[in-house]
Structure formats: C-alpha cells, structure tokens
Amino acid sequence: MTRFSAISLIAKALNGHKDWPEQWPDAAPKPAYDAIIVGGGGHGLGAAYYLAKKYGITKVAVLEKGWIGGGNTGRNTTIIRSNYLYDESAHLYDHAVKLWDGLSQELNYNTMYSKRGVMMLAHNVHDIQSFKRHIHANRLNGVDNEWLTPEEAKAYCPPLNISPDARYPVLGAALQRRGGTARHDTVAWGYARAAAALGVDVIQNCAVTGINRGPDGAVTGVETTRGSIACKRIGVSAAGNTSVIMQMAGLDFPLESYPLQALVSEPVKPIFPCVVMSNTVHAYMSQSDKGELVIGAGTDQYVSYSQRGALHIVEHTLAAICEIFPIFRRMRMLRTWGGIVDVTPDRSPILGKTPVQGLYVNCGWGTGGFKATPGAGDLLAYTMAKDEPHPINAPFNLDRFRNGRLIDEAAAAAVAH
C-alpha cells in the first residue's frame, strides 16, 4: 500500500497523476478463510479491517454481490450524530462518533469528516420539551448537545427564517456540534484499502447463495456465485438483504426492508453551513463539499427490494423543504436514488450473535446506519473475534424481541420509518 502524504501527492502531481498504483487488489475467492463478512459496505469492510487490525485475524474475505460501497454506504445522506435518547443508543452511536474522529489518520485516507454540527429545529412546545429531554439525557451520557434560542440558531445557520410568522416557526434548536457529515464513498474505499493492506481479500461480484452448516449446526462455509468457501465464522452485514441471507441459515428475522430515497440539487456556492433537521415537518438537509444540497426523503410505505422509490415521497419532502427554507424554492433537483433499509420493530439495530454457532449479524440500522459505520464495524469484529458481544452492543441482541427488552428509538430519526 502506498501511503498518502503531502510529499507523495506533490510528487505524483508533478508527474500528472499518471502512475498511481492500484489501491487494493480485486481479489478472487480462496477455498477457505478464518472469517467471512457478507456485505462490502462500510460496516462490513470496517469489520474486516478491525478483525485484522485489532484481533490479528487476517485470513478474512469480504464478499460483496455488487461493488463495494454500492449499497446503502453510497446511497445515504452522510449524516453523523449521536444524540440518541436512551443510554444504550447513546453509548452505541457515540462509540462510532469517537471513532470517526481520527479515522482519516488511522486509515491514511481522507474520509472528509466535517464536524459542522447537526441542528434539530423545534417548531412547537412538544418539540421543545422533547429536545430538552434529549439534551439532558445526552449530557448525562457524556454526549454533547445544547439548546439554542432562535437567534442563536440563526447565527449558527444564517439561511434559517426565524420570523414568528413562518408557517413552521423556529422556537429553538438542539445542536450537537460534534455531529456533521463525511464523504460516504471514501469510508468504504478507506476501509477496503486498509483492510487489504493487512491481508483481507475484498471480493466483488460475489453473491452468497447459501450458508453451509455441519452436523452440530455450526456454520462450515458459504456457497457463492463464485464457488464454495469454507469458514468457521460468518458476519452478515447485508442491510436490506439480511432477511434473505438469514433464511439461508434457516433463521427468520424481525426485519422489514423498505426503499428510502435521497436527492441532491444542482451545485451552488456555500450557503448552508451545517446539517438541519426538522422532525416535525419531515425534512433534513445539508450541503455537500461539491455544493449540492443533500436532502433525505422518507421511506415508501411498502416492503421492497427495488432500490428506487415513488416520486410522491420525494415531492412530499420537497414541499416540506420549501416550507422551512423558501429561499430554496427555485433550486432544481439533479438526482434522486433509493436504497433498501432494513427496519426492526424497535428501530434499533441488531448487532451480535445468532442462534446458529459461528453466525453473527449486524443489521436493522434502518434509515440511520451511516453514522454508525466505524462503531458497527468495530463491534462486529469484537463479537466475531471473542464469540461474545462487547458491553456496548450486548443490549442490541436478537433476544430482545423475545424477552421484551426493546430499545425503542422510534423517534430518533429525522424521517418517518
């Protein structure tokens, strides 16, 4: 692996950037590995990286049915925050936010993590009470979050209209300053490059078609479109396709997969300095480094694997954006796309062991998995290496749907799901 540095960048620039070597090899499957990760998104590649880096398990393959980062990793709105209400969630998401800090240095790859702040707007008394409760809960958990008056919110985000006559008046806002955005592709690429440098095989165009189990029920390997591969440990990190993979092992999961859409506008000069969410109006927005306004829409109402959504969902979101930010009414939208999100009954992820020996799962992140990428990868790696969950992800087990210890973060997201 060629390390990036100021010197290497200048040297290559003088040469017209012509001879950059391949950053990681396009590996072909070997007959056997110590561990296999199903799903080459940020979570799965992260898990492979931490397995190799922290636990010395380097005979690892990441199997991706398409191209790495082509699923939800490349289809989200790149928001990072950890202002979740419950203790379990706050610890889980803040573990990830702490890892985002320093990730670029660790991977020697610029993930463009920008702590521009995530601001949630309060439009009514209920919002004020709910957000203040979140702020207090967050602070008790060591997560930064603060209350802003309308004037302070406007100072932080000048395009805000804080006039009391607005259709949805801004009565205040909760601001997490450590929240922000990152460049989604680079997270997948950075992890793939760093993992490959430690010996991990990143295998694309390789769909898993079966999970093999021995007489004792434990996993013995996987069947793929590129042949059989033996292994004793499988970590499934397949987002919307998790139900399908789990059924190969005979497991029915408490998941439903829905299309979630996002869209971007034409690029404009920097105008929007932070991430703004309005849960009440169902809209959130940020501006990418390219200048596009990045907008998250809601999920379609029905279960689907189609990776596209209906236009009326986008229309509803844009109507909400226009209500809050009339200045953007004349912006033209450039692209919309959809990803398939796996939603659990309590809107919290499932990250841990399964009833099948050697089979581990990281799923159910719903509409908010990107922010958790480094944390989910790190905790899946821990769980696979130790065959037991880390204390942070222990509450996010599959058993909670049987014993009733749900972590009901249904109101945590900015869009309905």
């Binding site: 399908v244 029905y302 279960v303 689907s304 189609s306």
Partner: protein, 90 residues
C-alpha cells in the same frame, strides 16, 4: 407511483389513495396468554420480508375504505393479483 387494482372498486387506482397494512394472513392469536414467548415473538415481530412474492394487506383508505390482500413482487414492485379480505391465500 404505482397503480393498484382494488378488488372492491374493480379498478386500477393510484397508490396515494391506499394505505399499506403490512404482511397478510397473520392471524391474531385467540389466546395470547397460552402462548410461549417464542410464539408471541413470532406473531408480533417476525416477518417473511421475502425478495420476491409477498402477500400483503392494503386498504383503499381514500376510496372505498376496504382492506384487501395482494401478492406483489418486492423486486419489481409489480402486483401479481389482489383479492378481497377473507378469501384464501393466493
């Protein structure tokens, strides 16, 4: 937006007139207190979530108001058929 054939109105109507009602043919248990935790979990939370044929409930809420069942392919979103509530699984 997809068009959905309402079996009561006997007509293709726009999706925004309808409300999705989740997986179909999940019978409410007659005696929940007699069920094990595993059975209750299965009833409340476990869903088929298939990639392909999916049996699901819809309600023509901004139309005739009736619940009905449908078979839809979750990859193409194409409806195979819709049928009235109470009719056997297709």
């Amino acid at each position: 937006m997809i068009l959905i054939h309402c079996p009561y109105c006997d007509e293709d109507r726009p999706e925004i007139e309808f409300a999705y009602g989740g997986e179909a043919h999940i019978a409410r248990p007659l005696d929940p207190s007699a069920m094990s935790d595993a059975e209750w979990e299965r009833y409340l939370f476990i869903r088929n979530n298939p990639r392909g044929r999916h049996h699901e409930r819809w309600r023509h809420s901004h139309g005739c108001g009736r619940f009905f069942n449908a078979v839809r392919d979750t990859v193409t979103d194409k409806f195979e058929t819709t049928y009235k509530a109470g009719e056997p699984r297709k």
